[in-house]
């Protein structure tokens, strides 16, 4: 009977620890939302922050985060798709391909702060872009690219072989098969992966401290000339993102309501990441239905 008792005890502990993890997540999200939601209102979401007075908002930071994400995706998607397609369709097994795999693996395990420092040295200082949205977008691209390559490669590899063979039998070129046969089938999982990766980019701060900067100029939301220094859509202005802002007010915030602002901003960040997660699932299903003949997700 000893074995059965041990089995019961072990099962109890496994279930206990698994539920503990659930409790940790519920506690985390609950805490963030309970602390933060009360502080979120329209003026908090739209007004600029205050340095020493209470009542500051996160308007410019929220805009910067979203705009930086858009810029990052504009650079990342073409590069990530290209490299992923190469790995899935063109790469032949051999030394070169395994070297690229190693590169992707190493690049994805670099600490984000190291990538940030590299960006500061090369893009901010040597190439002279300064602390700017553009520098931040390049660094986030480097940070995001390995994941994007992996997502694309897996998506292309999971397309049934028969589809490719049918294309080859029709005498299509390999590139034509990739763009018109494989890509539509792979697209749903690429989009899902990209949206999930966007959530990660959205919360990244360490790589941005010394590239996109820790301050935002006074933005004039009526000025839409991309070259004007106070224009929100100028990609060459410094921009503090929401995640960087949370870090900054926690470590050097002087406003009397810094703790509440941090709580509110954290809640906004977590809600957006949750939204990214839900959106990723939803859009994947929708695209799959629209682009393939199947009724359900396979």
């Amino acid at each position: 009977m000893k074995a059965k008792l041990t089995d019961k005890i072990a099962t109890f502990f496994i279930v206990f620890f698994a539920l503990l993890i659930v409790a940790v997540l519920v506690g985390l999200i609950g805490f963030i939302l309970v602390r933060g939601l009360g502080y979120i209102n329209w003026s908090f979401l739209t007004s600029p922050p205050q340095t020493i007075r209470a009542g500051g908002g996160i308007g410019p930071q929220l805009f910067n985060s979203l705009f930086l994400l858009v810029l990052t995706l504009i650079i990342t998607i073409p590069l990530g798709l290209g490299a992923g397609i190469y790995m899935a369709e063109y790469a032949k097994p051999g030394k070169f391909t395994s070297a690229i795999r190693l590169v992707v693996e190493v690049l994805s395990s670099f600490p984000s702060i190291v990538i940030g420092l590299f960006g500061m040295l090369l893009i901010v200082n040597l190439l002279g872009f300064g602390f700017s949205l553009f520098s931040g977008a390049v660094v986030l691209t480097i940070f995001n690219l390995p994941l994007m390559v992996r997502i694309t490669e897996q998506a292309f590899r999971s397309v049934p072989k028969e589809q490719k063979e049918a294309g080859l039998a029709l005498g299509l070129s390999k590139w034509k098969i990739i763009t018109s046969v494989l890509f539509p089938v792979a697209l749903p999982s690429i989009v899902t992966g990209t949206v999930l990766a966007s959530g990660r980019v959205f919360g990244e701060a360490a790589a941005l401290l010394y590239t996109a900067g820790m301050s935002t100029p006074r933005l004039d939301f009526t000025d839409w000339n991309p070259m004007s220094p106070t224009s929100p859509i100028n990609p060459f202005r410094p921009a503090e993102t929401l995640a960087v802002h949370i870090w900054k007010i926690n470590s050097e915030g002087l406003a009397p309501d810094a703790a509440q602002i941090a709580a509110g901003a954290s809640a906004v960040l977590v809600i957006l990441v949750l939204a990214f997660n839900l959106f990723a699932r939803w859009i994947g299903g929708v695209l799959y239905k629209a682009l393939t003949a199947s009724k359900r997700m396979g």
């Binding site: 074995a3 059965k4 072990a10 099962t11 279930v15 206990f16 620890f17 698994a18 993890i21 997540l25 985390l28 999200i29 963030i32 602390r35 590069l79 990530g80 490299a83 190469y86 790995m87 063109y90 790469a91 690229i100 590169v103 693996e105 190493v106 690049l107 395990s109 600490p111 984000s112 702060i113 190291v114 420092l117 590299f118 500061m120 040295l121 090369l122 200082n125 480097i142 690219l145 070129s173 590139w175 034509k176 763009t179 990660r200 919360g203 701060a205 360490a206 401290l209 010394y210 960087v244 949370i246 870090w247 926690n250 470590s251 941090a262 954290s266 960040l269 977590v270 949750l274 997660n277």
Partner: protein, 311 residues
Amino acid sequence: MKTMDERPVQVGSARSGRFKKHHAEDLAGRSYTFICVALLIVIIISIVFFVASKGLSTFFRDGVSVSDFLFGSTWDPEGNQGDPVYGVLPFIFGSFATSLLAALIASPLSICASLFMTEIVPGWGKKLLQPVIELLAGIPSVVYGFVGLTVLVPFLRNVFPGQGIGIAAGSLVLSVMILPTITSVATDALSSLPRGLKESSFALGATRWQTISRVILPTVLPSILTGIVLGMARAFGEALAVQMVIGNAPHIPRSLFESASTLTSVITLDMGNTVMGSAHNDALWSMALALMFMTFIFVLLVRLLERRNRI
């Protein structure tokens, strides 16, 4: 769409034209994707080159010896007590202590979570825990730092002697952050086990725990270790969440609840306050080089474990 009978004459030339277009298209596509891959290689080479060239100047230009740097326990870059001293042992200690402790806390939890999903209740267990793990992975690190600072640090301050900040707080925050990494690797390994393995163990009359502890876990051990190494790599490189809760004192702490620093936390804090090209700044780059070096070691470890797993 062009059909064949649109051009009844000059079939030969039309055909060779199509042939050329077919090849030109493929060549363009192949070149484009190759350029993207080549860019990846250029990026990694330039990261290694730039970080190394800055990081090595501490030793070549500023004349700090490698052993003084790595094993010196005094960090006084501004020379407040005489000559500036660049000993980063406290930070290396902090980085290793936090990431090892985090792995120690997170591994049993992650293994239980993946056993729960694959062995105990494969049906709703997976439905419940999979989204939980994905959400934990999705929460930004500054939010972890913020929660650590507002909940964990005051809690530790009340329960244990000390100020709450320190290695204990850092590794607890990190352990939650690396839970998803270890869990997802372990779950993948567990669910790809051949069914026969488990069934033959049950057929011999083994209980579930006997099967798990003597058949399943030994078989997937290399994969679980891979997950732990990946988690440690993430913990080692995490900057802001740790920086917010560890206290940032530049010496080796005497207890888990005393202010300490890690490589990443020092780089984060000091990089903005030093002048590019100064010896203090170079020392920070050398720490970044050390971080990069550790990344290589983690990747190497993962590779070795994967090789073992394949046999």
